[in-house]
C-alpha cells in the first residue's frame, strides 16, 4: 500500500467533504487562472501598444493646430517636410494628414480628414488609437485615391441621417463655405461624397469624423500644398528620442514636434495597475487555497487523532505520517486545480472578459476598448498554465498543511489508548 496510497485512499473516506473541498479550492484556482490570463493579455497588450503607440511622433505647423479652416490655427507644415522626415534614420513611415473642421447643429463641429487610402485612420485629439472598427460598408482601397468617396463615423452619420444600411448608396455634401465662431468659410464649391463605409470608435468625439482620400480633400478645400499633421512612425521605441532630436534639427523651425511621452506614461501606468491588480488577485487566490487546506487538515488530524496514534503504535514513522497527510493535501489541491481548470475552460472566457473590463475599466479611456477587445483572453490549456496549476497546488498544499502535519507528527501513540 505505502503511505502515499494510504493518503490517496483517505481522500475517499468522506465523499461529500471531498466534493466541497474540491470546490472550495477549485474556485480560487479559477480566480488565479483568470488573473494569470489577464496578466498574460496585458503583457501582449503592452507589446502591441509599445509597437504602435509609443513609436509615433506627431508634427504640426509651428504654433498651430494645423486645421485648414480653423480661426488662427490654420498654419500648415511646408510640403517638403515630408521629404526631410523620410530621410531621417529609424523613421519607418511618415503619414501626412489634412484636417478641416465643419460645423454641425450647434454647438458641435465635426472633423474632415484627408489621408492616403492605406494610412492608419487616427482619431483627432486621440492620435494614438489605431484604425477604428468598420461597422458597415468597407475600408479604403488603393483605387479610392482621388475618388469622391468617404468613410464616416457613426456619430456624424447619425447627425446626417445616414443609416448603416444606406452605406454604399448614401452621399454627403461637403460645404466649405459654412462658418462657426472657430471656423472661417472658404470660398469653394460644394462636393458630394459617396459614403462607402461607416466606423465606430466607441468614443463620442472619435465618432464625429469623416475620412476621405487626401487628393479629394485637397481639391475640395483648394489646398495644393502643405500638411496638417504628419505622423512619424519610428522603428523602435528606443529610437524615439534620437528621431525626435533629428526632427528638431531638420524641421524644428517650422514644426512643433509632439513626442509620445504621455502615451508611454499612460501605457506604463495602466499595465502597471493591471499587473498589480492581477498579482493581488493571484496572491489572494493562493491565500484562499492555503486557508482551506489549513482548516481541512486541522479538521482531519483532529478527527483521526486515535488513528494516527494507532498508526504510530503499530510502527509508522514520523516520515510516514508526514507522507500520508502531505499526499492527501496535495491530492486535494490537485483535484481543486483540475476543477478550476475545467471551470476556466468552460466559462473562463466570459467571466474573465468581464473581470478584465471591470478591473481596468476605470483606468481605460474608451477609445482603447476596441484595441483591448481585439485581444481575446486566452483560456487554452498551455503547458505553462498546467505547470502553474501543479506548482501552485503543491505549494498551497505544503504551506497549508504544514501546521496540521506537524500536529499529526507531534501526536503521541497514547492517543490510540484514549476511549471516548
Amino acid at each position: 500500500m505505502g503511505m502515499i496510497i494510504l493518503g490517496l485512499r483517505n481522500l475517499l473516506r468522506n465523499k461529500v467533504r471531498l466534493v466541497l473541498v474540491a470546490i472550495l479550492i477549485g474556485v480560487p484556482f479559477f480566480l488565479l487562472l483568470a488573473m494569470y490570463s489577464i496578466g498574460d493579455a496585458m503583457q501582449r497588450q503592452t507589446t502591441v501598444l509599445n509597437e504602435n503607440v509609443n513609436t509615433v511622433l506627431q508634427l504640426r505647423g509651428r504654433g498651430s493646430m494645423g486645421h485648414v479652416n480653423m480661426v488662427g490655427q490654420d498654419r500648415l507644415l511646408p510640403q517638403d517636410t515630408l521629404e526631410k522626415v523620410r530621410g531621417i534614420e529609424h523613421v519607418r513611415q511618415a503619414e501626412p494628414y489634412l484636417l478641416a473642421m465643419a460645423p454641425i447643429t450647434p454647438p458641435n463641429f465635426v472633423m474632415h480628414v484627408g489621408l492616403a487610402p492605406g494610412a492608419v485612420k487616427r482619431l483627432e485629439s486621440h492620435g494614438e488609437a489605431g484604425n477604428p472598427r468598420i461597422i458597415a460598408g468597407r475600408d479604403f482601397m488603393p483605387e479610392d485615391a482621388g475618388q469622391d468617396v468617404a468613410i464616416i463615423g457613426q456619430g456624424y452619420a447619425e447627425w446626417a441621417g445616414i443609416r448603416p444600411e444606406d452605406v454604399g448608396k448614401a452621399t454627403l455634401t461637403i460645404d466649405p463655405t459654412r462658418t462657426h465662431p472657430a471656423i472661417f468659410g472658404m470660398d469653394r464649391p460644394t462636393r458630394e461624397l459617396r459614403i462607402i463605409g461607416m466606423y465606430a470608435s466607441g468614443y463620442i468625439f472619435g465618432d464625429l469624423q469623416l475620412f476621405m482620400p487626401v487628393e479629394t480633400f485637397r481639391s475640395i478645400y483648394g489646398i495644393d500644398q502643405g500638411i496638417s499633421w504628419l505622423f512619424v512612425n519610428v522603428d523602435n521605441v528606443e529610437n524615439v528620442p534620437v528621431v525626435a532630436q533629428r526632427l528638431q534639427e531638420a524641421v524644428g523651425d517650422v514644426a512643433d514636434i509632439l513626442v509620445p511621452e504621455s502615451a508611454a506614461v499612460f501605457t506604463a501606468t495602466t499595465s502597471q495597475r493591471v499587473t498589480q491588480l492581477t498579482s493581488v488577485g493571484g496572491i489572494l487566490a493562493v491565500a484562499l487555497m492555503v486557508i482551506v487546506v489549513f482548516f481541512v487538515l486541522l479538521m482531519i488530524v483532529r478527527e483521526r487523532a486515535r488513528e494516527i496514534g494507532t498508526l504510530k503504535a503499530i510502527g509508522a514513522s514520523n516520515g510516514g505520517v508526514t507522507t500520508q497527510f502531505l499526499t492527501e493535501a496535495v491530492a486535494l489541491t490537485l483535484l481543486g486545480g483540475a476543477l478550476g481548470l475545467l471551470l476556466f475552460r468552460g466559462i473562463g472566457e466570459i467571466v474573465t472578459g468581464r473581470l478584465f473590463a471591470l478591473s481596468i475599466g476605470p483606468f481605460l479611456p474608451s477609445h482603447y476598448r476596441p484595441l483591448f477587445e481585439s485581444l481575446a483572453i486566452n483560456s487554452n490549456l498551455s503547458a505553462s498554465t498546467l505547470a502553474l496549476v501543479i506548482a501552485v497546488a503543491v505549494l498551497a498544499a505544503v504551506i497549508g498543511s504544514a501546521y496540521g502535519v506537524w500536529q499529526a507528527v507531534k501526536l503521541s501513540p497514547l492517543e490510540a489508548m484514549k476511549h471516548e
Binding site: L12, R13, E307
Partner: protein
C-alpha cells in the same frame, strides 16, 4: 542472577515511578515498582480503577516515559531510545491490542493485518500470505476482504490481535481488550490471547477476575504499588522449555 535467567526475562522494571502534576500537587500514578516478567505466558494486571494499571502498561510499551527508574524490554532501556529506535521497537518487539480495537476503517481486515508488516519492510507478497494465514488461524478466513464496519466487535478484536502479532513480537500488550465486548466474545478473545501467549509474552490489563484466572500470573496493583494477592507468584508454566 545467572545468564539463563537474564535471557528469559522480557520485561524488567527497576524502581519505576510515574508522577503527574495536578495543579500544585503531584499524583504518583505508579510508585517505585520493581517487576520482572519472563518470556512467554500470559500475565494479567488487575486492580481498582485509577490504580495505575494503564500507566504501567504504557511504560512497558514505551508509549510513556517513567518519571524515575528504568524500564527494560527485551534487553533495551526503552526510556532511552531515540525516535528512530522507538519506531523500530514498536515494529519488532511489541504489539498492541486496544480496548477500542482501533482498526483502520478504510482498510480491509487483510490490509489491517498486513500494515505493520509493511512498516517493518516485509514484501507485499509475503505479508499478504502471512496476514491471510493469521486470519485463517483466528477463524476469520471468510472475512479477509471485509472492512471493520462490516465486522462484529469480537471479529474486530480478533483482527486486531492478528495485527498485533503480525511481526511476531516478543511482547503483546492489551489494555482491557474485552472492555467493549459481551462476555461471550470476551471469552473467545481471552482464549485467543492464551493461545498467542504460548509463543510470546502477553500482558493484559483487566477488571475481570474471572478472566484473570486464565492467566499464568496475576499482578495486583493498588495506588501505584504492587501488592501481594492470590496467584501473584510465578506459576510454573507447561510451555516453558
Amino acid at each position: 542472577m545467572n545468564k539463563l535467567l537474564i535471557d528469559n526475562l522480557v520485561v524488567e522494571l527497576r524502581s519505576v515511578s510515574k508522577s503527574y502534576r495536578k495543579g500544585s500537587e503531584t499524583v504518583d500514578a505508579v510508585a517505585g515498582i520493581e517487576l520482572t516478567i519472563q518470556e512467554r505466558g500470559m500475565v494479567a494486571i488487575v486492580g481498582p480503577s485509577g490504580s495505575g494499571k494503564s500507566t504501567l502498561l504504557h511504560m512497558i510499551g514505551a508509549m510513556d516515559r517513567p518519571t524515575r527508574g528504568e524500564v527494560l524490554v527485551a534487553g533495551q532501556a526503552v526510556n532511552r531510545l531515540s525516535s528512530g529506535e522507538l519506531t523500530r521497537f514498536r515494529r519488532q518487539t511489541v504489539g498492541f491490542v486496544f480496548q477500542t480495537f482501533n482498526l483502520i476503517p478504510n482498510l480491509t481486515a487483510l490490509e489491517n493485518v498486513a500494515l505493520p508488516m509493511e512498516f517493518n519492510g516485509v514484501s507485499a507478497s509475503e505479508r499478504s500470505v502471512r496476514a491471510k494465514t493469521l486470519l485463517e488461524r483466528f477463524q476469520l478466513g471468510h472475512r479477509l476482504k471485509h472492512r471493520p464496519r462490516e465486522l462484529s466487535g469480537g471479529e474486530m478484536q480478533r483482527v486486531a490481535i492478528a495485527r498485533a502479532v503480525a511481526n511476531q513480537p516478543r511482547l503483546v500488550l492489551a489494555d482491557e481488550p474485552t472492555g467493549n465486548l459481551d462476555s461471550r466474545s470476551g471469552q473467545i478473545i481471552y482464549e485467543l490471547l492464551q493461545e498467542v501467549s504460548r509463543e510470546r509474552t502477553v500482558i493484559v490489563v483487566t477488571h475481570s477476575e474471572e478472566l484473570a484466572r486464565l492467566a499464568d500470573r496475576v499482578i495486583h496493583i493498588r495506588d501505584g504499588h504492587l501488592v501481594d494477592g492470590p496467584n501473584s507468584g510465578h506459576k510454573v508454566v507447561s510451555v516453558t522449555p
